[in-house]
Symmetry: C2
Subunit: 349 residues, 2 copies
């Protein structure tokens, strides 16, 4: 076997594992003092763009927390930037784009021809991380979904009600599809090159697909996720994970779109998702991230509830239902990982 | 018939109507210049506590927009205040409580014995509004759900991740239930007195039930909503509407809890909710509020999609999936109301 620990990859393919693998969304992040030590010396974007730093924080949770997979430290907004929209990461505010997409000519001006060269630093970070990991665990790569990336490109940053984005898709439907087309093309190039650089699986973060009604989600988000998954997998065998946060209404359609793994927030039960998708996909998740602020015994009880809800069998990757929060005590994350590693054995006998 | 227009009440009971009734959540609000004119002279809490002002803004959308029901202008936080937790409404921030619930003795200190006398101003506003409405349309009263009120009482205001509330229910389960018990008792008294004062239906706003996993939603939110609905309806025939925003996973359980009407945000399709609940409840909603920023023809297309999705038959109350946003043009709201009134006739032939 290629990896010392390939539980994560086997679970993605619903193959037999002796226990449930676990990793944590945003595991290379601010809750770790070791991450903050690096972050103190470099700003966020410098970390993203410096392979040495990105690979260092990518590996930290493998060493410190003992997760079963690493995920390359990066940012979903590298894609809009490579397409020509520069952004700043403003402390305690979030990303800010100087220029936003307002009309047809803004979309035409976006560049999708130089994705691979502009994002070479990501591929270098992947290669370096693979070397350092030395086959201990697999490495996950990721991208934002076209719809999610589009919201930042139109709103110019985070948003509460996504008024500009929704106005755009409602009033300028053709232009919205043109924009989504171009982002999709960029994402396909990006993920394909990332796989070439060495990632073992890819996750599509559709952080904002859940703000849409079902018909709009299918038309403006899932359609493009499907194209990415199918195109990337046409020439690669690496499993694709789809995380459309809040999208409870289209799990069957996400399975139809070819996702190998569906990642679920904490509001959809794994048992229910298993039924809806007819067990076609592996499932990832889905402990409420806030659980890690509870007492140790409560964390165990809640983790047990997730394991029980999925039940016996393969194809479950334990994770939080969303990113770990920055003020969580790393000891709590470690406790969760240790508990799941041990407790899950009985579901794989 | 008691009312010039009782379409809303008939729809709540799934009785035959000649068209679909419509009202708009937060219809007495900042998007109306007539509301802002009053708001300029009085702060929010003064408006809530002055029956003359509360009744005036309650009636505005009936006159200006032509909705089929009025909803008494008030605030869900009158309950925590009447229980002993004073709050300020801070401009462009939201509510701020000086004192919050931290432990058992804070809960014991909460007062539920003087709800009726402390909230007399609400009942006076209801009576005055009923006089002014002069039986044109029914009047809806409302309350926050115990869980939603609890989040404000623990967090001290709005919250992003509800860390304190979730810590409280996870680590201090018995105290959480004690607190929810007391709030529930207060809400039952409040809604019963509101019905006595003249409201024709009541809506429970569970704005934050959707941040919980299903097991926690059932234990910490729906259980108490059920107690309220059953107790209030034990002695009153007025229909009860339950709006648990984001709670896509427990529609059957909400129907089991005795809701006459389930109000849905825009992420759950009416057709799907109808199937899940076996058509037992009327359904309210569920146009994405941001749709009102679109071009006129797009608003009509999207409204039509909602009507078509519910399909032919009775028991649909048109509404937005959440409150109308403050920067919406009132002409757009009027356009929606006029369109639904006309277009919906074909679904009731």
């Amino acid at each position: 076997m290629k990896y010392d620990n390939d539980l994560f990859l086997r679970a993605c393919r619903k193959e037999k594992t002796e226990r449930t693998p676990i990793w944590i969304m945003r595991q290379a992040g601010r809750y770790l003092p070791e991450y903050r030590a690096i972050r103190e010396k470099s700003d966020f974007k410098t970390m993203v763009k410096t392979p040495e730093l990105a690979s260092e924080v990518t590996i930290q949770p493998v060493d410190i927390i003992g997760v079963d997979a690493a995920i390359i430290f990066s940012d979903i907004l590298v894609i809009p930037e490579a397409m020509g929209l520069d952004y700043q990461m403003v402390e305690s505010v979030g990303p800010r784009f100087d220029k936003v997409i307002k009309n047809h000519s803004d979309i035409v001006a976006l560049d999708v021809d130089h994705i691979e060269e502009k994002l070479q630093y990501v591929f270098d970070a992947v290669k370096l991380t693979k070397e350092k990991l030395n086959n201990r665990v697999p490495l996950i790569g990721f991208s934002g979904s076209p719809f999610t990336l589009m919201t930042y490109m139109i709103e110019g940053g985070g948003s509460k009600n996504f008024v500009k984005t929704k106005q755009f898709i409602l009033n300028y439907r053709d232009e919205a599809h043109l924009l989504l087309d171009k982002i999709t093309e960029a994402v396909i190039k990006y993920l394909s090159a990332k796989i070439e650089a060495g990632i073992d699986a890819f996750q599509i973060f559709d952080s904002w697909g859940g703000v849409l009604s079902k018909p709009h989600y299918l038309e403006f988000s899932l359609k493009y996720i499907e194209r990415i998954v199918k195109e990337v997998k046409r020439i690669n065998s690496e499993p694709g994970i789809v995380f459309s946060k809040g999208v409870h209404h289209s799990l069957k359609e996400i399975a139809d779109a070819g996702a190998d793994v569906i990642s679920l927030d904490w509001t959809t039960q794994l048992s229910c998702a298993k039924e809806t998708t007819g067990g076609r996909c592996a499932l990832q998740g889905n402990l409420d991230p806030v659980t890690l602020y509870a007492d140790d015994e409560v964390i165990k009880t809640e983790a047990k509830r997730i394991l029980e809800n999925f039940g016996k069998g393969n194809g479950h990757i334990f994770n939080l239902g969303h990113g770990i929060l920055p003020s969580v005590d790393p000891a709590k994350a470690k406790l969760l990982v240790d508990f799941v590693k041990e407790e899950s054995r009985k579901y794989h006998e």
